[in-house]
Symmetry: C2
Subunit: 170 residues, 2 copies
């Protein structure tokens, strides 16, 4: 199921790219600076939109690298505009497009760890199911919620994107 789940993450990032575009159009129509959105948050002690998008991107990226055994890439969180956030999202879509089903062979049993875990580790399966997927959707939905709360016209269909429905059997 890893291949399908990463394809879904890629689709969801494509939707996020669209919501950010819709936010920019909304700002333009209402004549305010679209980059105001970048600093908006739902609570004073919660991360703003920029950080939500960055962590959403990192969740997908780290899952892809950890589960395929590729080295972690250096990153910087410097985005200050909607367009820069869109570029970040698109860079992760491109990264996910480079992952083949073969790359994911053995994903479930890989040893996943991070320096701050002080030697503790998770199996690839546990990391993916218990951390990567919930964390990805948490930050994706929070980014959506910040936009939705602030007037951007996005709905559930924009969240889910297209689904693979099959025609009726005759």
């Amino acid at each position: 199921m890893y291949t399908e789940m990463f394809a879904q993450m890629k689709k969801q990032l494509g939707q996020l790219d669209k919501w950010l575009g819709t936010a920019g159009e909304y700002a333009k129509a209402k004549s305010f600076d679209p980059n105001v959105f970048v600093g908006l948050r739902l609570a004073p002690d919660q991360f703003p939109l920029a950080r939500q998008v960055q962590i959403c991107c990192d969740s997908a990226k780290l899952a892809a690298l950890f589960l395929t055994g590729k080295p972690e890439e250096p990153k910087s969180d410097t985005e200050q505009t909607l367009e820069e956030l869109q570029a970040r999202v698109r860079s992760i879509i491109a990264l996910l497009e480079g992952i083949s089903p073969q790359d994911l062979d053995g994903a479930a049993t890989r040893v996943v760890s991070q320096p701050r875990w002080k030697g503790e580790w998770m199996t690839g399966a546990d990391y993916f199911v218990q951390h990567a997927v919930p964390n990805f959707y948490f930050h994706l939905t929070t980014a959506y919620a910040i936009l939705r709360h602030n007037g951007v016209s996005v709905g559930k269909r924009d969240f889910l994107g297209a689904q693979t429905k099959r025609p009726p059997a005759n």
Copy 2:
């Protein structure tokens, strides 16, 4: 991975149960009616907390029934208090506890459809990855966001819950 993903949904519903409890304690400490939370929303044209919790529950329940080939159960959305919402959440946890790995044999290739799809259908795998999981996390995170936005002290650790970290190898 279905067994692990449903176990994770069960864990996430347990976390949701706790957030609702924390919301009730917060209301008590601030001397307001805890059931005010039930009607709060992030945007005037978005569903309030009660409906977010109900749909989150339904997403998990329908996925479990569709993917195990069990008949859909009648439901009613009548909850008006935090405690009633907690009872709803716990009923879904109980339902998920009744699903065995054997029940999920062949989940990926089941035919999933609903009356409003007019004969169209999805494979169990597509339904789970493209609809059930994103929809579940969407409503779970939106419920969390409504509470967080309104002052309830919940954080990322409360969202994710405990994770299966393994001890360092010696």
